[in-house]
């Protein structure tokens, strides 16, 4: 699904975003991306959606080579990637329903199927009764679920989440994470960048750890920390 080959991204003037990064994420995997702030997690995600282009190396996403992908095809790439962000990125002047519907309008989905799919996905994330609310009228956790619904309403083969639980309380965070797991079970590849140590340790999924833009660990059923320096808090 995602292939990075020796990818380097340097920001001006001399800040390393990502350094000689290689990895392979298979279809249907659930992967955590961990590391301190500034270690390159967001850079990695932006490279996948081609908000950024690498200085060196090759990136393949769903069989597309991002280097040779035409600018005009970038929207098509993004329609195959659902994105969830720490700050939700909802349109403030659209209702919950309209926010989710927008992702379908963009793809040219017929009105009738929009009217069917949006309530369906909203009840899946447990927001069937908040359809006509505006983002500022609902809680952070609810906003994040709207954002997950929007990311998944197209059933994209790939879902990226950048600190999805960063702005919400731990209780609610579990709900969001369970949602992502359920999405993963439908066959969607899920990549989650996170700081949430407890979450990563509890889930025991593949972990990619970044430090200063370099991949320092790739563990199949890992915890947040290196096995050697594990601090014993694991559940």
């Amino acid at each position: 699904m995602i292939v990075f080959e020796d990818v380097t991204k340097i920001y001006d003037p001399n800040v390393v975003g990502l350094q000689d990064f290689s990895c392979h994420i298979a279809k249907g995997e659930f992967v955590f991306l961990v590391g301190p702030s500034g270690s390159g997690k967001s850079t990695l995600i932006k490279l996948i959606t081609r908000e950024l282009r690498p200085d060196k190396g090759r990136i393949l996403v769903a069989g597309r080579n991002l280097e040779t992908l035409k600018d005009s095809k970038v929207p098509l790439l993004r329609r195959n990637i659902g994105c969830v962000f720490q700050d939700f990125k909802l349109l403030p002047n659209k209702t919950v329903y309209e926010n989710v519907a927008y992702a379908l309008e963009v793809v040219g989905e017929p009105r009738r199927s929009i009217r069917r799919k949006v309530p369906e996905i909203l009840s899946l994330v447990g927001l069937a009764d908040k359809m006509d609310s505006y983002p500022h009228e609902i809680s952070g956790g609810e906003q994040q679920r709207v954002s997950v619904a929007r990311a998944f309403v197209n059933h994209p083969p790939l879902l990226l989440a950048d600190e999805p639980t960063g702005n919400i309380d731990p209780e609610t965070a579990i709900g969001i994470m369970q949602l992502l797991v359920r999405i993963n079970r439908t066959g969607t590849t899920v990549l989650v960048a996170t700081h949430d140590r407890e979450m990563v340790n509890r889930m025991r999924r593949r972990v990619l750890q970044l430090e200063n833009g370099r991949l320092v660990r790739d563990e199949r059923r890992g915890g947040y920390d290196h096995p050697g320096e594990a601090n014993g808090e694991e559940a």
């Binding site: 081609r50 329609r79 195959n80 992702a103 963009v106």
Partner: protein
Amino acid sequence: MRLGFFLSEALGSMRRNWVMAMAAIVTVFISMAILGAVLVTRDNLNRGITSLKNRVLIEVFIKDEVNADPQQLQELERKIQAIPEVKSYRDISEEEALQRFRERFGDRIVDNLPINPLPASFEIRVKDADQVDRVARLFFDDPRVDNDPGTHNGVKYARETVRKMLGTINLVGWVMWGATIIFGIAAVLLISTTVRLSIFARRREVEIMRLVGATNWFIRWPFVLEGFITGIVGAVLAALFVWLGNWALARWIEGSSIDFLHLRVYDLWWQGGAWPAGLLPTLVVIGGVLGAAGSAVALRRYLRA
């Protein structure tokens, strides 16, 4: 293209950001009103110039003895007829000359005159004001013309006036073109600045649209439509405003002492001439195109891949 969706997006965003929308409409209104005023002024000036040019005439006064002799008079008339630059001419009899004098200076003076001192004359109009001088010269040394010895005072025409008038007319024409261009550029800048401000306020929206995979044109359409609507609304208001102003001014001048200006009301819808479209079609087309293009251009920096 899903016009319904884009239209409702555009209208919805105008309703939500109505302060910005109003500001943009007012900007378009001001720019278009200035442009419309220039248009109307230029049109009226052109007409004034044409009517002034037509009024330039040459008066050729006839010696009394020539006037008394039908054959000599006819020869003079034939000479006038033979000049190709002459558009029309009229003979003014002594009586008619006196009548005109009476109209201009009142009965009292005329009634006190023992005889009619005024000579008969021909009034000649030329096809183009530029030709006045050349035609007038043809009569300078004509023996039938009532010249005082050694002068050409039997031929009267506004020589200096014509020259100055032509110079002024040309200058005014250039100034008007200059004004049209400058105000046109000002309108473009004002509109594009306003649009850029309103898009800057919504750059997050654009970012999210891109994020969910909207194509550039999908993002652009509502903004372009919004600019288009803004441009049209502003232009319609401006057209009505300028037209009403023009109409009121024309009415006022008609009733005042400077009515020789013959101010004309520029047609709102349609009129003839070099620029056949009336105020409304002209300004609406310009406003709509400027608004739409302004939006598209202002969006460009946010739509780079």
